[in-house]
């Protein structure tokens, strides 16, 4: 009899038994997704006593909601709340704009122009880099002098190399190198970055984080935008070329409007990544350039977790992202999918 539940009533319909189980599982996961968010939302309206006396579940029935925590965060801690919020906003938007811009033009170039950097030139570059590092660390040479000297050496030798070089890298190699930067764990680069910014006095500033985030996200932009650019029909650009337009004009006037959805998707993805970023902010910021993730994490330090205050902070941190994503979720999904499916 149980078996009959799993036989379809009509051939192209799903049997009742299967449907019940499917809805059940999906419903369960819906609960798993929504319940923590719900819990956090109501906790933000709780008084300390409501929390420490044991769990209460429904506002107005189990407990009386209060705006105490909200008041505390926004009024009592006012500037301490707004500063990180503003910082996060500025850092996220600026670094996203920079990453999308630089990454897109690089992706476009890699999709349309043929590069052939000689292997020897790349090798020389890496060598010069190592020399700079050794000179600064070991020999105590000033960073600027080391860079200047090695840079000059590099350019001098470059001529000779280009003429004699026989093996070259191709676009695919450059693309692979840029995209593989993503594998690099941030913790590997963060300490030297910290030292660099410290030496030029940019520690604990928004600029430092903007530069760092832009660098970290350019690979993603290149990876995602490359496919979008490659799929633009070449004929459109070629006819503009024949008409005499410059490469810049073609890119910004013709191609960009065509890949606009891709730019939006990628931008959104990068914006979310920057908004939520934790590690670099942890190392590079203390007070002035504190971002929201740091603020949330800092709540832990004092008198034990104050869940009610934290909930407010987390909520104000999540809400802008949620609203933005919900309104534009179609684009993000497409962005992730293009990357995963083609990548």
């Amino acid at each position: 009899m149980i078996r009959r539940l799993f036989v379809p009533a009509r051939v192209d319909e799903i049997p009742i038994g299967t449907r019940v189980i499917a809805y059940g599982l999906l419903g369960l996961w819906t609960l798993v997704v929504l319940f923590p968010l719900y819990w956090m939302a109501i906790t933000s309206f709780k008084l300390p006593i409501d929390v420490s006396n044991g769990p209460v579940y429904v506002p107005f029935i189990d407990f009386k909601p209060s705006l105490d925590a909200w008041h505390y965060i926004f009024v009592d801690l006012g500037p301490d709340t707004f500063r990180p919020y503003v910082n996060s906003l500025i850092i996220a938007t600026s670094s996203t704009a920079a990453a999308v811009f630089l990454g897109s033009i690089a992706a476009y170039a890699l999709a349309r122009i043929e590069y052939r950097p000689p292997v020897a030139a790349v090798g020389l570059g890496v060598l010069m880099l190592a020399v700079v590092v050794a000179a600064v660390g070991w020999g105590g040479v000033d960073l600027r002098i080391a860079v200047a000297v090695c840079g000059a050496l590099f350019f001098l030798l470059l001529r000779a190399i280009i003429r004699r070089a026989r093996r070259h890298f191709a676009n695919d190699d450059i693309l692979f190198w840029i995209i593989s930067q993503r594998i690099l764990p941030p913790v590997v680069t963060v300490i030297p970055i910290y030292l660099t910014f410290k030496s030029i006095g940019l520690l604990d500033t928004r600029t430092a984080l903007i530069i760092t985030y832009a660098t970290a996200n350019v690979p993603i932009v290149v990876w995602l935008m490359f496919d979008f650019f490659a799929s633009v029909p070449k004929e459109i650009e070629e006819s503009a070329q024949i008409d005499g337009a410059t490469r810049f004009a073609i890119l910004f006037g013709i191609v960009v409007p065509l890949v606009a959805p891709g730019i939006v998707a990628t931008g959104l993805l990068v914006l979310i990544l920057s908004w939520n970023e934790y590690l670099f902010a942890l190392f590079l910021s203390t007070a002035n350039a504190q971002t929201l993730p740091l603020l949330v994490a800092a709540q832990n330090a004092t008198r034990g977790p104050q869940w009610w205050n934290m909930s407010v902070l987390i909520l104000i941190m999540i809400l802008p992202v949620m609203l933005l994503t919900l309104t534009l979720q179609r684009f993000i999904v497409k962005g992730i999918l293009v990357g995963a499916v083609k990548g």
Binding site: P8, R10, V11, D12, E13
Partner: protein
């Protein structure tokens, strides 16, 4: 990889396995509604065992839906489906003992040709030796032996189609269902495969239900043709009768290339009058009617001798014949003439039609008005 290799007809490999497996297939009062749209209206069809039946119609007329309902991939909103004496309406596709060849062939890309063909048997847990023998036998009959270890992506369109066919054959099903299997092939290959299909069906004797929008395929392959328009069965008959004895305007206009000429007019007192001209009509009917006559059943004569008169609109040389389009009053007619025809555009000519080849249809219902 020569698709066109014509070999001497092989002796039948299936002598031991033909007719006993074949069953009749019936649709009884089948209707199908998708949302608000009624796609099939009370369709009833009986396909005899061993028969090649073609479901013919334009895109969207419901023929593919009907096929999928027989297969069990869609459910019928009303009505029932029978395979042999079994009511299979509630049964899943796998239990209905029918095999289907899809328009896109639906080959499994990760399996070799051998594994593709063997799949129906593997799923039914047959012995390995049995599977091996059966697959090789079927592959030989469709000339696919050299390709057994290849993958579908390495095959040409014609070869892929034969793999799809082989996969259907290997099961010895009660019926074959085919959904426009030739439409993805180029014209030359299509003609060759038509002949192959007809021969194969004859050899195997399997009940075959074949969906197409191409009337040539229908006429050449079918024992009987079921012409469907907007979900309603228009006529179910042998190709010859569909051609020479159409049941309504739709059938008359669908079959035949170039299509039948239609002249709108009025029938009164055994006379059909149109555009100021008339001819004697051997039917007892009064009302608005349509006269139908095929281009190949007309001939051009001098204006004085013609039953209808008109002016030449255009002359097209096809090769072994020419087509002359005439303006008869406000309507147009096409006449097939010899390729030596030398009429000028604008010239006045007359038209005569063989009496037996003239059809009359009621103008509003489209139904054929038969001789009394």
């Amino acid at each position: 990889m020569n698709d066109m290799e014509t070999q001497a007809p092989r002796p039948s490999h299936f002598a031991s396995s033909t007719l006993p497996h074949s069953k009749s297939v019936s649709l009884r009062n089948v209707s199908k509604t998708f949302g608000d749209t009624r796609v099939l209206h009370d369709l009833s069809l009986d396909v005899h065992a061993g028969e090649f039946l073609v479901l013919l119609g334009e895109s969207g007329c419901g023929k593919t839906t009907a096929l999928r309902i027989i297969a069990g991939l869609e459910s019928a909103s009303e009505g029932s489906i029978y395979v042999g004496d079994n009511d299979v309406t509630q049964q899943l596709p796998r239990d209905r003992d029918v095999a289907m060849v899809f328009q896109s062939y639906a080959l499994y890309p990760h399996k070799t040709v051998f594994e593709n063909i063997a799949y129906p048997l593997i799923v039914r847990k047959r012995a390995k030796a049995e599977i091996d023998a059966a697959v090789r036998e079927v592959a030989a009959s469709v000339h696919l032996e050299p390709q057994l270890d290849r993958y579908p992506r390495q095959l040409s369109g014609g070869q892929r189609q034969r793999v799809a066919l082989a996969r259907a054959i290997v099961r010895r099903p009660a019926a074959f269902l085919m959904d426009e299997p030739l439409s993805n092939l180029d014209a030359k290959l299509r003609g060759h495969m038509r002949a192959e299909l007809k021969h194969m069906q004859h050899e195997l004797g399997v009940t075959t239900i074949y969906v197409t929008h191409d009337q040539i395929e229908a006429m050449t392959l079918a024992h009987r043709v079921a012409l469907i328009d907007k979900g309603v069965l228009q006529q179910l008959d042998a190709p010859a009768r569909i051609y020479s004895d159409p049941a309504n305007l739709f059938v008359a206009g669908f079959i035949g290339s170039p299509p039948m000429n239609f002249l709108r007019g009025t029938l009164t007192n055994n006379r059909f009058a149109s555009e100021g001209m008339a001819l004697v009509a051997d039917v007892n009917y009064h009302g608005e009617a349509v006269l139908g006559v095929r281009p190949e059943d007309c001939m051009l004569v001098t204006a004085a001798d013609g039953e209808f008169r008109g002016h030449i609109y255009s002359v097209e040389l096809i090769g072994d014949h020419s087509l002359v389009t005439l303006n008869v009053g406000q309507q147009q007619m096409v006449v097939k003439v010899s390729n030596m025809f030398t009429g000028e555009i604008g010239a006045e000519v007359g038209l005569r039609a063989s009496r037996e080849r003239v059809y009359f249809f009621d103008q509003s219902s489209g139904l054929r008005i038969r001789q009394c």
